[in-house]
């Protein structure tokens, strides 16, 4: 499986890459949405993980960008600032990401199992893929 990870934190990108490499996936890490979109244009990806809270570059815009390219690639939105109850449920940026076209969300902090579950949960969207993880 070919996976694109767009996250401005290099540690998060490296850790996800290390884990998914061991699961037999090919992983490309991009540190902002510009690099991410460029990578997306040059290679084929089965899954895209994008952090929607990247200062400077807009993760939500990236999702919109992917969808506007008429791509049905499954997108997992990560992170996103979550307001407390006073602001109401609509201020949850992860939910907003889903309404913008993200396939599902993965709230940080998450571990390997959550990541695996999220990717395996996309199998309906990814033809000819096998489940990852032991």
């Amino acid at each position: 499986m070919h996976i694109l990870v767009i996250d401005d934190d290099p540690s998060v990108g490296a850790a996800i890459q290390a884990f998914l490499n061991h699961q037999g996936c090919e992983v490309v890490v991009a540190e902002n949405s510009t690099l991410g979109i460029r990578a997306f244009e040059t290679s084929r990806f089965d899954v895209v993980l994008v952090d929607i809270f990247m200062p400077g570059t807009d993760g939500l815009e990236t999702i919109k960008d992917f969808r506007q390219r008429r791509s049905n690639v499954p997108i997992i939105a990560m992170s996103g600032f979550r307001f407390r109850d006073q602001m109401g449920p609509t201020a949850d940026f992860l939910s907003m990401a889903v309404s913008l076209g993200a396939t599902c969300c993965l709230r940080k902090p998450f571990g390997s199992q959550n990541l695996m579950a999220a990717i395996n949960g996309l199998r309906d969207h990814v033809p000819a893929s096998t489940a990852i993880g032991s």
Binding site: D7, D9, A14, R84, D85, K108, F110, S112
Partner: protein
């Protein structure tokens, strides 16, 4: 001269004191609420910063677990045992960060809107009362005092005036000394009495 309503209102009347006490209490509660909310927001911002390194840490720890597990020849590797414990601690940290990030639910009673509504009610009750009494109110006799008290509170006041102790008065009314004391505290707040002597003086008809 202005029509006698607002400016002849007695500022020492029991309903006024009650309203002031209520407002004071609500003000204190609102300060606590505001502070709690502010601390919660700071917590959420801090937790948000911890999300990235914590995610990386959790993933790496699982990788270490996987690698330590493979090196076992027979039995459980001591390294693996340590790693499993490390993962436990990391999960604990994740729980804490999650809780800080989501914050504490603000109790309904101290939410500003509710507090303001209760304060308004107290002020209206005072204004209503003062209007009805034509702007003047003396603190005697006891029968006009007791207009502000509940039936039970009137019974308790009668006991106090008769010189009963909390225990004795409570026993007489079939309630505990503690309950009697609670009623007593309410009566004193409502009537603006500073102490028991005040209360008895008011009840016996002396003007304050």
């Amino acid at each position: 001269m202005l029509n006698g309503s607002h400016f002849d209102m007695p500022y020492e009347s029991p309903p006024y004191n009650y309203a002031v006490q209520k407002l004071r209490k609500l003000q204190d509660e609102m300060v606590v609420t505001a502070r709690t909310w502010a601390m919660g927001e700071i917590g959420a911002a801090v937790a948000h910063q911890l999300n990235d390194p914590l995610t990386a840490l959790l993933i790496y720890l699982h990788e270490i677990e996987r690698v330590s597990g493979r090196q076992t020849v027979s039995g459980v590797s001591p390294l693996l045992e340590v790693v499993v414990k490390a993962i436990c601690e990391a999960e604990r940290v994740r729980g804490i960060v999650d809780r800080i990030g989501h914050g504490v639910e603000t109790p309904v009673e101290t939410r500003p809107a509710v507090a303001v509504a209760v304060a308004r009610e107290a002020i209206d009750a005072w204004a209503q009362d003062s209007k009805q009494n034509g702007g003047g109110r003396r603190l005697s006799p006891a029968s006009s005092l007791s207009d502000h008290l509940t039936a039970r509170e009137r019974e308790v006041l009668a006991q106090i005036v008769a010189g009963a102790s909390n225990k004795g008065g409570g026993h007489h009314l079939g309630i505990s000394a503690r309950t009697f004391e609670v009623h007593r505290a309410h009566i004193m707040t409502k009537l603006g009495a500073r102490n028991a002597a005040d209360l008895v003086r008011m009840a016996l008809g002396e003007v304050k």
